[in-house]
């Protein structure tokens, strides 16, 4: 079924206004789009890791969610989801519920790449029927932009600050999407917030309606942490894709498909220059950081293309 923005927006809103995410937070856009990817007749249970989204979307007595929602802790959204899925299976089997419920888990990169990695890996291996959405804003934003394993090399985070002896984070980020692929998950995708959100929607829908554990990694800009004016979010997402810093692709049963091939791959600095977290990279004497960042992106991109062909 072809994606039609108008039809999608005619659906009742399932992520309500009045949540307390920062103005311009990408996570709000992600949650709305995630919930639109559900068929209106299907219900959902959202299992949320501790983080910005959790403290903002369910502050007692105000929930932004129209569907059932559970937050228990930081490192265990997927373990909690495993329990909800087990409950769903047994209650269906025992005839206690008739509705279709989709089990969604959502966390930031902290709750997904790092502290929640064990429970994610465990649930992927066990093969529960759930979809995990990672809103990857590349640092621990809820506690004030500390580096995570998703933080790119050279980013200025509060625990990897730039200074006379430092050019920001020393390590490149963990490639979590491919680590999830290596678990044998039936559907894994990378997307971000661009255009009509068609790419996001189609991947989210496919993930939710593929049986088994599925994973969608969403690059989700954070205006405070990345240090850019909030209104630039669409431009930053676009540049992440056009520079191949964040390629759009999906992996179905181990087969890679590139979702978007930039007509002309832009230099990585087009992405970096929009954000204060890379400001030091543009200082005289630090040119090598941009070259090194480019080299890394090129290598990753080539490796991905080889997998997609």
């Amino acid at each position: 079924m072809a994606y039609n923005l108008k039809e999608q927006l005619n659906k009742p809103e399932r992520f309500e206004a009045g949540h307390r995410l920062c103005a311009g937070c990408g996570a709000g856009i992600v949650c709305r789009a995630m919930m639109r990817a559900l068929e209106p007749e299907d219900k959902a249970v959202i299992c949320n890791a501790t983080g910005c989204l959790e403290v903002s979307s369910f502050q007692y007595p105000y929930t932004a969610w129209h569907d059932s929602y559970i937050h228990t802790a930081f490192e265990n959204a997927t373990a909690t989801a495993s329990g909800v899925e087990a409950a769903y299976n047994v209650m269906r089997r025992r005839g206690k519920i008739k509705d279709t419920f989709k089990i969604l888990a959502i966390g930031g990169d902290g709750g997904t790449y790092d502290i929640g990695f064990q429970s994610l890996s465990g649930a992927l291996e066990r093969g529960h029927d759930f979809t995990y959405f990672c809103y990857d804003n590349e640092a621990y934003m809820n506690t004030g932009t500390q580096r995570s394993s998703a933080t790119p090399r050279f980013a200025n985070a509060t625990t990897t600050p730039a200074g006379v002896e430092s050019v920001g984070k020393k390590q490149t980020q963990k490639d979590l999407t491919q680590i999830v692929v290596a678990h044998g998950a039936p559907y894994v995708a990378q997307t971000t917030l661009i255009g009509t959100l068609k790419d996001f929607h189609e991947k989210a829908h496919k993930a939710i309606y593929t049986e088994g554990p599925t994973f969608v990694n969403v690059l989700t800009p954070c205006p405070r942490g990345w240090q850019y004016p909030a209104e630039l979010l669409p431009e930053i997402c676009k540049m992440a894709v056009e520079t191949c810093v964040w390629p759009l692709y999906e992996v179905e049963n181990g087969e890679y498909h590139l979702s978007y091939m930039p007509k002309k791959k832009l230099p990585v600095e087009e992405f970096m220059k929009l954000q204060g977290r890379f400001r030091h990279c543009f200082k005289p004497g630090n040119e090598w950081t941009i070259e090194a960042a480019q080299e890394y992106v090129d290598k990753q991109w080539e490796a991905l293309l080889a997998k997609c062909n």
């Binding site: 219900k43 249970v45 299992c47 959790e54 403290v55 369910f58 502050q59 007692y60 007595p61 929930t63 969610w65 129209h66 569907d67 059932s68 929602y69 559970i70 937050h71 228990t72 802790a73 490192e75 265990n76 373990a79 909690t80 989801a81 495993s82 329990g83 909800v84 899925e85 087990a86 409950a87 769903y88 299976n89 047994v90 209650m91 089997r93 025992r94 206690k96 519920i97 008739k98 509705d99 419920f101 064990q118 429970s119 890996s121 465990g122 291996e125 066990r126």
Partner: protein, 399 residues
């Protein structure tokens, strides 16, 4: 009709679980509780239960999965010990404050270090303030009976708190003893079905669980939880009364053994009671007015009731099978002594920490404790309030 059998404590608990047939069992193995999920896995494999049995990758995830399942509208259970319980620590508080009445079987075992697999209460005592109700058993029969009562206590609308059913690791968990089991149908009828008012998978309305609570709500939420723990005292006795009516075995907050006219008393928990009862009997033969209180319910702590039972004693020794490192005594002592604080005339009280990491506790030890109490009464001198017993020591044991 009760069925006579011979089971270990672990198999007794697994049997109770099989009879209840909970919706979800999330497991991760750890000695000495591992057998419980192993027995259960076989029940699943043999079609004796239709529980959703999931083998997760850690104890933290086991309790997290149980939290998800319980919130979703299910009866969820798990079992653990020692480091596994410590690893669950964060989630114990979450589960209790989210008021998810799941049941956790604990085969008590010492905490590291050094690493040790034998019995003491350092694991569950470290979680005494987690918000879980805690029931302790002297033997496999009590472990079984406590488990049968657990869901009804936890799920009572005035309570809605999670519950730990504790048995002594190896001593109870692995030793075969005679036991009276109840018929499957009688158990099902006693425990009943679980029908929460709201749950994640409810059709009529959604449920949101686990909010951020600003200080304008946090204290009220904690008071509500504290009141629920108080309510648990009433419900524990109500459930015990119905249990006795149906199955004939009597339970209270604690067992008073030969306490009617006791002047010297020991307060302890679990399997050590069997040993201490022998000492009480032998001393009674000699004319010593010895008695024993075996605490079954540690959370909620039945302070008033214990003090009522102890008030006519002259000297009391509280035996702690866990070291709290407070330099002022173990947790059972702290609770008991503080409960007695406002008595007009209260017995002298001492604390003895014993049996750590499976160190033997013999009738001889118990008698030495009573001898010390007799000396306290005779001299009027309490001596050291907090001491250890059973360790090799360059110093003489406190007499």
């Amino acid at each position: 009709m009760s069925i006579k059998d011979r089971l270990s404590g672990n198999e007794a608990i697994a049997t109770a679980m099989r009879q209840i047939n909970p919706d979800v069992f999330a497991m991760f193995p750890i000695t000495p509780s591992t057998e419980i999920p192993q027995f259960y896995a076989q029940y699943v494999a043999d079609g004796k239960v239709d529980t959703e049995f999931i083998c997760v990758e850690s104890e933290h995830s086991a309790l997290s999965a149980c939290a998800g399942a319980e919130a979703a509208g299910c009866r969820a259970v798990t079992a653990t010990s020692s480091a596994g319980l410590s690893y669950m620590n964060e989630m114990l508080y979450v589960v209790a404050s989210s008021r998810l009445p799941l049941v956790l079987a604990v085969s008590n075992r010492a905490l590291t270090g050094p690493i040790n697999i034998n019995h003491d209460y350092s694991d569950s005592m470290a979680e005494r303030d987690s918000g879980f109700i805690q029931l302790y058993a002297e033997n496999n029969q009590e472990a079984y009976d406590n488990y049968l009562q657990a869901h009804r206590i936890a799920e009572h609308p005035d309570v809605r708190l999670p519950l730990m059913v504790c048995e002594d690791g190896f001593i109870t968990s692995h030793a075969l003893e005679n036991i009276e089991l109840e018929e499957d149908e009688a158990v099902k009828d006693f425990v009943g079905e679980y029908h929460p008012e709201n749950y994640l998978l409810k059709s009529e309305n959604p449920l949101a669980v686990g909010p951020y609570g600003v200080s304008g709500y946090y204290m009220e939420a904690r008071v509500a939880q504290a009141e629920a723990m108080k309510n648990a005292k009433r419900v524990i006795l109500e459930v015990a009364a119905d249990f006795e009516k149906r199955f004939g075995r009597h339970y209270e907050f604690f067992e008073s053994y030969r306490m009617e006219d006791a002047e010297l008393a020991i307060v302890l928990m679990g399997s050590s009671a069997g040993t201490a009862k022998v000492a009480v009997d032998e001393l009674r033969e000699e004319g010593v007015k010895a008695g024993l209180i075996k605490v079954r319910v540690f959370r909620p702590f039945p302070g008033e009731e214990i003090v009522e039972a102890l008030k006519n004693c002259k000297a009391v020794a509280i035996l702690d099978k866990s070291e709290g490192f407070s330099a002022n005594g173990g947790p059972l002592f702290a609770e008991t002594a503080s409960a007695a604080i406002n008595l007009e005339k209260r017995p002298k009280m001492i604390d003895i920490v014993y049996g750590l990491g499976g160190r033997d506790f013999t009738v001889g030890h118990a008698k030495r404790v009573f001898a010390r109490l007799a000396k306290i009464v005779e001299t009027g001198e309490t001596g050291p309030i907090y001491s250890h017993m059973g360790q090799r020591d360059l110093r003489k044991e406190v007499q």
